[in-house]
């Protein structure tokens, strides 16, 4: 997933970079816009200056035209020849001037001064028309005009700024000058508007801090303007290029402005003009986007959509490809490998085929598989010595999963008595082994049920623990029985030795010892199981405690009863186990017909077993033990272990009722002969309706294995 992460990282960096650009660009764009505005102001200022010069040229030409008017020449030439000007002459000359004014097309002058060659004002038109005779020579413009030059200037008359132009009046004979014509034009809004034209800026003229006209009258901060003018120096014609725009306030509005000094005499009055424009509002990214959209900047013709879309698709394909290569495909391989493992098609996961973290998962699974294998081997080794336990495992396994236990080992090995005769040593040995085997089978069976019951009570308890506990308890209970049997065997051995058959019995005895004890004299139960029980798993098995106590107690009683009744009677030795069926309502006491037959042999025992008021009882001489077990209040099973005397009616010699299946059956013996060697017992179905193991025993004739 390394490349995918790198790709994601790169994309994130790219996106962050793009976002940063998108956020920063407006600032840069705004700054650029301001710079552009400033540049535009400088250009506009220069343009205004050029237009003013052009206007000056036009005005000078107009003055020249005015001065060349014949009547003007005649009048001024005449006036120049007199020492004293009078009003009549003034009016005459003024009329001439007015007539000439009427002929001017376009913008007319705001005043006309008609000066004779001495510098005297002969007449004025449109301003101070009554004044005449004063000398205006001395002004540079007038002096130059009287000397024969045409030029322009800027005059300040009162608080009015005039653009002035002058031209000499030449005598008709071209020998001398007759005077000069001075034209003046005010700075008007119309003129200012024409000056800025389509420049999308405004211009305003100032005399110091006094407004002298402009395209738009705005109350600027005059101090800032004056400060801007004070910074100017050098050639006036370069002000627009040398000057830098500055911010200007007019109320709440912000403007960018540039100032330039005005030339001429007006310069002495701090005359200047300012070109200004409203400061552009800062704009955000969206504003630029909207502008681009409105201006068609997002069209396919003007925006590289194909490049952007292609880049996006490439990035997307690369990202998806990397995910497929690094994540999806390895995950599918791992899943397939896991499925194979689950199906048993493979024993381990192939670690090499899974890269990166998937390989780690595969290795972890393999490690766990190895661990389970080792533990299984260890558990198998621990439980191997005990044959009964091994068989118990089978039963536990079956009961744990609810598989009907269709077999409850039936070990019928006491046929020697009937077949070989009671005094036959080989028959005794055989019966001994049979007895021993029956005991083991009986214990295994009961332990199996106990363990199964415990498992149902505590499904989370470990199987091993429950089984081991059951086995342990069973062995603890079983040991005295075996010992009692051994004692009986020894006594019998002595008898047999006396009869000359001791050797065989010793082998039987050794085998019994080996079965019951380990060489070190300890119990053959797995140490691991005992250890786990001691280490605290007892708690989870506490649910089984009562049952175990029952088992133990009943086992103890079994042992005692067995010890009491195992005494050989009439040369017949054997422990018979069998099953009877107990109805759930306590009334059903029907046992196997074969059982009944046998029970029926004895009037004392042939009576039907039945439950009465939840208590197991028998109407005829019920065993005290059964009566004492009146707590058996549920349909359950009873196990009857009986030893039949050599002759006579079979009678139960001991009872042990447990909440488990009743296993075994009495041999069908009557009169010392076995009626059936293969005692068929009902099939046992273990259900899980109750906390204990209710057993329903049907009349099927499944043979115990």
């Amino acid at each position: 997933v390394f490349a995918s992460k790198i790709w994601l990282f790169l994309l994130t960096i790219g996106a962050t970079f793009a976002l940063t650009i998108a956020l920063v660009m407006p600032h840069s764009a705004n700054s650029t816009r301001v710079d552009v505005e400033h540049t535009r102001l400088g250009v506009a200022c220069g343009v205004v200056n050029i237009l003013l010069a052009k206007d000056a040229r036009n005005r000078v030409d107009l003055a020249g035209s005015f001065a060349r008017t014949p009547d003007v020449v005649t009048q001024l030439d005449s006036a120049s020849g007199v020492d004293k000007l009078d009003e009549a002459r003034m009016k005459q000359v003024r009329d001439v001037g007015e007539n000439v004014m009427k002929t001017i097309q376009g913008r007319k002058p705001d005043f006309v001064m008609m000066v004779d060659k001495r510098g005297r004002v002969v007449a004025r038109v449109k301003v101070d028309e009554a004044d005449f005779g004063d000398v205006i020579a001395g002004r540079p413009l007038v002096d130059d005009a009287l000397a024969g030059y045409t030029r322009d200037d800027l005059w300040v008359q009162g608080s009015t700024l005039y653009l002035v132009s002058a031209a000499p009046v030449i005598k008709k004979d071209m020998t001398d000058y007759a005077g000069a014509i001075i034209l003046g034009h005010k700075i008007t809004q119309d003129l200012a508007t024409k000056l800025v034209g389509d420049l999308n800026v405004d211009v305003e003229f100032f005399l110091g801090q006094t407004e002298a006209g402009g395209s738009k009258t705005i109350s600027f901060d005059k101090t800032a303007l004056a400060d801007g003018v004070k910074k100017l120096s050098g050639d006036i014609s370069l002000d627009c290029r040398a000057n830098h725009p500055f911010d200007l306030k007019a109320g709440n509005d912000a403007y960018s402005a540039i100032v330039a000094r005005l030339p001429g005499e007006a310069g002495a009055h701090q005359a200047f003009y300012s070109v200004f424009v409203k400061k552009p509002e800062p704009r955000g990214t969206w504003a630029y986007f909207t502008e681009a959209r409105e201006n068609g900047g997002l069209g396919f013709d003007s925006f590289p959509w194909l490049l952007v879309g292609g880049g996006f698709l490439v990035a997307l394909v690369i990202g998806i490809g990397l995910m497929l290569y690094e994540s999806d495909r390895p995950l599918r391989r791992l899943a397939a490998d896991a499925v194979k493992l689950a199906k048993g098609e493979s024993e381990r996961m192939n670690e090499d085929s899974h890269p990166g973290k998937f390989g780690t998962i595969a290795r972890s699974v393999n490690i766990h598989i190895d661990k389970l294998g080792r533990e299984a081997k260890s558990a198998k080794k621990d439980r191997a010595p005990v044959g009964a336990a091994r068989r118990l495992r089978v039963v536990i396994a079956a009961s744990a999963v609810g598989v009907p236990v269709q077999r409850c080992r039936r070990v019928r090995s006491d046929g020697g008595r009937s077949s070989r005769g009671s005094n036959d040593a080989a028959g005794d040995a055989h019966r001994f082994r049979a007895t021993h085997a029956n005991a083991r089978a009986d214990g295994a069976c009961r332990a199996a049920h106990v363990s199964g019951d415990a498992r149902r009570r505590h499904p989370r308890a470990e199987d091993d623990t429950a089984a081991d506990v059951a086995v342990e308890r069973y062995r603890a209970a079983r040991r005295p029985v075996l010992q009692a049997g051994l004692r009986s065997v020894r006594r019998r051995q002595a008898q047999l030795q006396r009869a000359g058959i001791g050797a065989d019995l010793r082998e039987v005895l050794r085998e019994a010892r080996q079965e019951s004890r380990r060489p070190d004299g300890e119990d053959a139960l797995p140490r691991g199981a005992l250890h786990r029980v001691r280490q605290g798993r007892q708690g989870r098995a506490q649910g089984d405690a009562r049952q175990r106590r029952v088992i133990v107690a009943s086992g103890g009683r079994f042992h005692r009863q067995a010890a009491e009744h195992a005494k050989p009677r009439q040369g017949s030795v054997g422990i018979e186990v069998g099953c009877i069926e107990l109805g759930e309502n306590g009334s059903a006491s029907t046992a196997n017909p074969a059982w009944d037959n046998h029970l029926g042999d004895d009037s004392a025992t042939s009576a039907a077993w039945r439950f009465s008021d939840g208590a197991l009882a028998r109407h005829a001489t019920p065993p005290a033990m059964i009566r004492s077990r009146s707590r058996c209040d549920s349909a359950s099973a009873m196990m009857v272990v009986g030893r039949f005397a050599g002759s006579g009616s079979p009678r139960p010699v001991m009872w042990r009722w447990i909440s488990a299946a009743m296993c075994g059956a009495p041999a069908s013996t009557s009169g010392g002969s076995r009626k059936s060697s293969a005692w068929r017992v009902p099939a046992i179905t273990i259900s899980r309706d109750h906390g204990v193991l209710p057993v329903n025993i049907s009349n099927s004739t499944t043979a115990l294995a």
Partner: protein
């Protein structure tokens, strides 16, 4: 008026002593080039294509003074007319102690002062038809009288230790009458400075002294 003042002065002197006349001429060099524009508009000035432009006028700015070692008689009043946007005479030579009376003959008020001594001219506007007078305290001083609101309005007063002063005409001639006999030193003032030209002139009791001075250059030192 200035001539009259001079004549009156000379007449007064001649009543006590014998007086003579000096009629001289200043040989002037070619007119100087027109100085660059002090103030120009958006355009440079352009000579008209019809006839040649006039040369720079120099004689209005040229004044002759005859100085003697004796102290001049008590000076009188010197009148100086302000005619519109200029003085009638751009250069005025006045004896020390004389009272200069500036009369505004135009319709425009002015606020005049002396650039070299702002206490020389009484403060306040010089209204049309109004006058403003002051005395010249020290000989040798040159004052520039002007209006700060009208930079083009400018006149020069040179204080001299004599009352024998004359302007020159367009040809450079000048004449001073009723000069007491004796030796004098003729000096030439141009525009705003004394030229290097000086000449000793003996004024005879009868007849005329006809000095001719040659002005080598308009500017001093050139």
């Amino acid at each position: 008026m200035f001539s009259r003042l001079v004549l009156v002065t000379l007449a007064t002197v001649s009543s006590a002593v014998e007086a003579g006349t000096v009629v001289g001429k200043v040989e002037m060099p070619a007119p100087p080039d027109r100085p660059p524009l002090a103030t120009k508009g958006f355009l440079d000035r352009a000579a008209n294509p019809m006839i040649p432009v006039k040369p720079v006028a120099t004689t209005p700015y040229l004044v002759i003074a005859l100085e003697a070692e004796d102290k001049p008689p008590t000076p009188g009043q010197v009148s100086w007319d302000l005619v519109g946007d200029s003085f009638a005479k751009p250069v005025l030579l006045a004896p020390v102690g004389a009272e200069v009376v500036i009369k505004n003959t135009s319709n425009t008020p002015h606020t005049i002062d002396a650039a070299e001594d702002n206490k020389l001219v009484p403060s306040g506007p010089l209204n049309p038809k109004g006058t403003k007078s002051f005395r010249l305290p020290q000989a040798g001083k040159i004052y520039t009288i002007g209006d700060r609101d009208s930079p083009h309005l400018k006149g020069v007063i040179a204080v001299v230790n004599t009352a024998y002063i004359a302007s020159v005409d367009a040809s450079g001639k000048f004449e001073i009458t009723d000069i007491p006999t004796g030796g004098y030193k003729l000096r030439v003032f141009y525009k705003d400075h004394w030229t290097d030209v000086s000449q000793n002139v003996d004024v005879p009791a009868k007849g005329k002294a006809e000095p001719t001075v040659k002005l080598a250059a308009w500017e001093k030192g050139k």
